[in-house]
């Protein structure tokens, strides 16, 4: 299993230790944290919802493809679901390879693919009492950033 979902707090130590491999010369990890703001609004809570059966299949396929494509010694990702607050860890992605370049590239690649293709949705709750489902395809015309910089982790 390369990809998993959890309703409990992610444990980076437990995800990292099985990846240790003497053939690897570099390990790159990305941790996506819940921010206390989004598009200028204060965030109090995030609820993540997944189509769990499909998310596990899609996540697994993505990571297997990246494992082969970047000739990694290992890759692993876990996404939290349920209710999270600022400071919580929402996603953990780790990749290790004989050389650092592949580990960096694969980690970034995996995060981008998971965000774009794994069926998970984010419901944000704001300090003013309002709430909104995050839609990365929506136009945030008041902001000049691309969706990659305006959406969450």
């Amino acid at each position: 299993m390369l990809f998993s979902l959890t309703e409990k707090p992610i444990r980076p130590d437990l995800l990292r230790s099985p990846m240790l491999n003497q053939e690897a010369g570099g390990f790159c990890v990305f941790e996506g944290w819940v921010r206390n703001h989004h598009l200028g609004r204060g965030v109090t809570r995030l609820d993540y919802e997944a189509y769990q059966a499909l998310a596990l299949k899609v996540g697994e396929k993505i990571l297997h493809e990246i494992l082969d494509q970047h000739s990694l010694t290992g890759i692993r990702a876990e996404h939290r679901i349920g209710s999270l607050v600022p400071g919580d860890l929402a996603i953990w992605v780790g990749a290790c390879a004989p050389h650092r370049d592949k580990a960096f590239e694969a980690c970034r690649h995996a995060v981008d693919e998971i965000k774009a293709h794994v069926p998970i949705w984010k419901h944000e709750f704001y300090t003013d009492g309002s709430d909104e489902w995050v839609d990365p395809t929506a136009c945030h015309c008041a902001h000049s950033h691309s969706s990659k910089t305006t959406e969450g982790a």
Binding site: G32, Y48, E49, A50, Y51, A53, L54, K57, V58, H79, A90, I91, V111, I114, K115, A116, H117, V118, P119, I120, W121, K122, H123, W133, V134, D135, P136, T137, E151, G152, A153
Partner: protein
Amino acid sequence: MSQVTILYFGRLREDAGTHQEEVNTAASTIADLIRERAQTLDFPYKIQSLRFARNEALCPADESIHNGDTIAFMPPMAGG
């Protein structure tokens, strides 16, 4: 007519008021099915931005549907 199970997620689930429903439909593709459901439900997204799955496999909107299928209507993914 065929009977299918429709799964809704995220904002679609909230707007539909249910996560799952059984429907009898004359639709032959997922695109037909969503046009049929749009007559009674307001979908808050452009159909082109929705993603679909048939029996736990991602598929395009022109995928054929069959009696007993489970079809998922999904908003744009927003994990991470």
